[in-house]
């Protein structure tokens, strides 16, 4: 079928829209929840506040102990990285909140912004997979040792189980994330070339 023919069929199919009784419910303007409208800004602020709390906790722990033990060091490094991650996430979420609201920008610009945001999420997942997850897995037994008495052999079982599960996840997800990253970057480049 020719495109012009398709166009006219499409136009004809839209004629019935004249009879559709859809009206704007003006109550929505006032009733749309403030929290829902500013969800991203609130999420971003919470992230920044959380990162500050974590940093205060980490620095407090360092200041309290005269000699820094291996336990404290690992907990502090893990805490510091998590705080840095949470802070970055907070800043990006707030920035996205302001960009997202600019509905009158060109469609290509909005798609570009969305792709950059998707790319950021891919990098975030990579960061979780490659840095945060192993850090948590390493730090967990050191934190647990303070609260629970570990029976002998637990460490070896934990290392083996956590290691196997982590490595499997790492192989499967890394490949998927890398492919996704490549696809998004190529689409971003396409959009940039079209300008």
């Amino acid at each position: 079928m020719e495109v012009e023919e398709l166009k006219s069929i499409y136009q004809k199919s839209n004629k019935e829209l004249d009879n559709k009784n859809i009206e704007f419910n003006s109550g929505i303007i006032h009733s749309k929840c403030w929290f829902l409208k500013h969800r991203n800004a609130i999420e971003g602020t919470i992230c920044i506040i959380t990162s500050i709390i974590i940093l205060i906790f980490v620095f407090g722990k360092i200041q309290k102990s005269d000699i820094i033990s291996l336990n404290t060091l690992i907990v502090c490094i893990a805490g510091g990285i998590i705080a840095l991650y949470t802070f970055t996430k907070g800043v990006f979420t707030i920035l996205f909140h302001f960009k997202e609201k600019q509905w009158e920008y060109s469609v290509n610009y909005m798609i570009h912004t969305r792709l950059i945001n998707q790319l950021y999420f891919v990098y975030e997942r990579m960061f979780w997979l490659w840095i945060l997850l192993p850090l948590v897995l390493i730090a967990l037994p050191f934190i647990a040792v303070n609260w629970i008495i570990m029976p002998e052999g637990t460490a070896i079982t934990y290392c083996m189980t956590a290691g196997i599960i982590y490595l499997t996840t790492l192989i499967v997800l890394s490949k998927w994330l890398w492919k996704k990253r490549k696809a998004i970057i190529s689409r971003i480049k396409d959009i940039e070339n079209e300008k």
């Binding site: 166009k7 859809i22 704007f24 929505i28 060109s106």
Partner: protein
């Protein structure tokens, strides 16, 4: 501070209702319930963006309206798309008029659904008989690029059609 006149806004929406509804129908794949939800979201975003539009007298109303409506449609997360296709199919069976045409439209929607967001928007504007200049303004690309991309999308749709027939 710009004073927003509710009356002006309401008149503008009434004048452009059909344009907005067409976008809603296209991005909801004929599911009128989803189209209604999208319509509310679009008008809400138009209302939020209206003060910025009023501040820019050089901005063409149709360009602004299309940009806001299309960006809202693209931003909304499309849930149960398969269900929407079913709704469209149901609508076809119920309406006695244009039955064959509706089947073609359903097929067209299925093919367009396989395109990326940008191509989908461009083909919508093309089907809506917008000029290349208008498409370029709404999309934020050059006029020469519009023609090239439309040709490329037509070819892609043809290939997708052949693939699905096999």
């Amino acid at each position: 501070m710009v004073h927003i006149d509710n009356k002006d806004f309401e008149i503008m929406i009434a004048q452009n209702k059909l344009q907005i509804l067409k976008i809603c129908r296209f991005y909801s794949y004929g599911d009128m319930e989803a189209a209604n939800d999208l319509f509310q979201d679009i008008v809400l975003n138009l209302w939020e963006s209206y003060p910025r539009y009023v501040k820019r007298p050089n901005c063409k109303q149709s360009t602004w309206l299309y940009r806001v409506a299309l960006n809202t449609a693209l931003m909304q997360k499309r849930k149960n798309s398969r269900l929407s296709f079913e709704a469209l199919h149901k609508e076809n069976i119920q309406s006695e008029q244009y039955n064959d045409d509706n089947e073609i439209i359903r097929r067209l929607y299925e093919l367009i659904d396989q395109l990326n967001e940008g191509d989908k928007t461009l083909i919508y504007l093309f089907l809506d008989e917008k000029s290349h200049q208008d498409i370029a303004d709404i999309m934020g690309i050059s006029v020469s690029n519009v023609g090239t991309r439309i040709q490329r999308i037509k070819l892609k749709l043809k290939q997708l059609n052949i693939k699905s027939e096999i």
